[in-house]
């Protein structure tokens, strides 16, 4: 029987998709369906959470010169 599932469609590149799947692997309440290599269906209430989480993960990959300075007095 045909169904219509409410959610948010996410379009992103493969690496970000992998990150979102990883975020989901810890909580299991984000991703509803994995559609294809660049699309995911996620819980529409979790969009902001995913964005914040992505930002946190990505900023780990960036060198922030200010962090260094704060360590050295």
């Amino acid at each position: 029987m045909t169904r219509a599932i409410k959610g948010a469609l996410v379009e992103c590149d493969a690496s970000i998709r992998a990150l979102i799947v990883r975020i989901d692997s810890e909580r299991h309440d984000v991703v509803i369906q994995e559609l294809d290599e660049t699309h995911l269906l996620i819980d529409s209430n979790k969009v902001d959470f995913v964005k914040a989480e992505l930002n946190r993960l990505l900023s780990k990959n960036t060198y922030n010169p200010l962090d260094d300075e704060e360590i050295q007095p």
Binding site: C12, D13, A14, S15, I16
Partner: protein, 350 residues
């Protein structure tokens, strides 16, 4: 990712192709004011008519952008001098009764036009016509122009426009070539309007060729303004996009360093590369007149003989002398230091 990334970087690519934004430019005009030659030209083109066309084209240059600037230099028979910018003493300003342009003209144009026209007027007013053959100070004018441009170069791109009437004969070869190379190095195009219909200028052809400028001999003087607004109006901002009119055959001949004659066949010193029109010019000392290096007597004799032979040969064939230059080579091979080996027959590119 690619699809998204492309968007941002593509817009960037588009905008940087339009990098040739409107940067203001400086137009430096060198006017030939040799009165003798202008008198000869009078029937077809008067000095006044030329000034009129020039004024309009200077205004048009200023109209392009209001940060544009001009400088006008007179190549006079007594020396080069600035017509604009020029310090006018208070007294002169008050004494000046003639208004050269209408007072309701756009101020920016009026100030410049008035100043340079009144200076040009003054130049001729208190002049007694020259009694001796007038000298050509083109090299001095070019140096003045280059010095002025150098001062302005930090914020303005520049080009030079030469309004020439005088023939090459009285030109100083070396200073002119030096100015040309200086202009080339600083990316300053030299445009040349050869107003005399009777002769072309060898050196100025080379000047515009080396600096990617325009050289054009204007034969129909009634259309001078149209020439000024098209061929000589290619501003630096559009130099990259416009096809610059050129001449097919450029006269690349050089002048003898000693006699100043333009030579077809010449001799080049292997040390300082100076050009001599005749072997005999090295004199009895057999020294280069410019760098004073000593040449080998045998080579000189051989070259003199060959030249003689070439002249006879060409006379017999009815052709002009072969355009080849012999090179005096000051060889160091056998230790004496002054023995020269015989020259190769390949011409030196000039």
């Amino acid at each position: 990712m690619d699809a998204i990334a492309d968007k941002t970087f593509k817009t960037d690519a588009n905008s940087s192709t339009s990098h040739n934004y409107d940067s203001p430019s400086l137009l430096t005009v060198i006017i030939d004011t040799n009165p003798v030659i202008w008198e000869q030209l009078e029937p077809t083109l008067s000095f006044k008519a030329m000034l009129e066309s020039l004024t309009v084209s200077i205004n048009s240059h200023l109209a392009l952008n209001n940060a544009n600037e001009v400088a006008v230099i007179a190549n006079h028979y007594e020396g080069a001098q600035f017509l604009y910018p020029c310090h006018v003493s208070r007294e002169d300003e008050e004494n000046q009764q003639v208004n050269f342009v209408k007072t309701d003209m756009y101020r920016q144009f009026r100030i410049i036009d008035d100043s340079f026209l009144s200076q040009a007027f003054k130049l001729f007013k208190d002049d007694t016509p020259p009694t001796t053959q007038p000298k050509n100070f083109l090299s001095a004018s070019l140096s003045l122009a280059l010095a002025y441009i150098n001062k302005k170069q930090s914020h303005l791109k520049s080009r030079i426009l030469i309004m020439n009437v005088t023939p090459d004969t009285h030109l100083q070869y070396i200073p002119i070539m030096n100015s040309i190379f200086a202009a080339e190095k600083n990316h300053i195009p030299i445009d040349v309007a050869q107003l005399s219909p009777h002769y072309n200028s060898t050196f100025l052809q080379q000047a515009s060729d080396a600096t990617h400028g325009v050289y054009l001999q204007i034969k129909t003087h009634t259309a001078l303004i149209q020439y000024m607004m098209t061929v000589f109006f290619i501003d630096l901002s559009i130099r990259d996009s416009v096809i610059i009119p050129g001449i097919k055959e450029i006269d690349f001949r050089a002048a003898c360093y000693v006699t100043g004659d333009i030579v077809d066949v010449g001799f080049v010193c292997s040390v300082c590369l100076c050009i001599l029109s005749d072997v005999s010019l090295v004199g009895k000392e057999r020294r280069c007149p410019v760098c004073d290096v000593q040449f080998d007597v045998n080579v000189l004799r051989k070259l003199a003989d060959r030249k003689f032979a070439a002249l006879i040969g060409s006379g017999a064939n009815g052709e002009s002398g072969a355009v080849k230059k012999r090179k005096l080579i000051n060889g160091q091979s056998n230790g004496t230091g002054t023995t020269a080996t015989s020259a190769t027959a390949s011409p030196m590119p000039l």
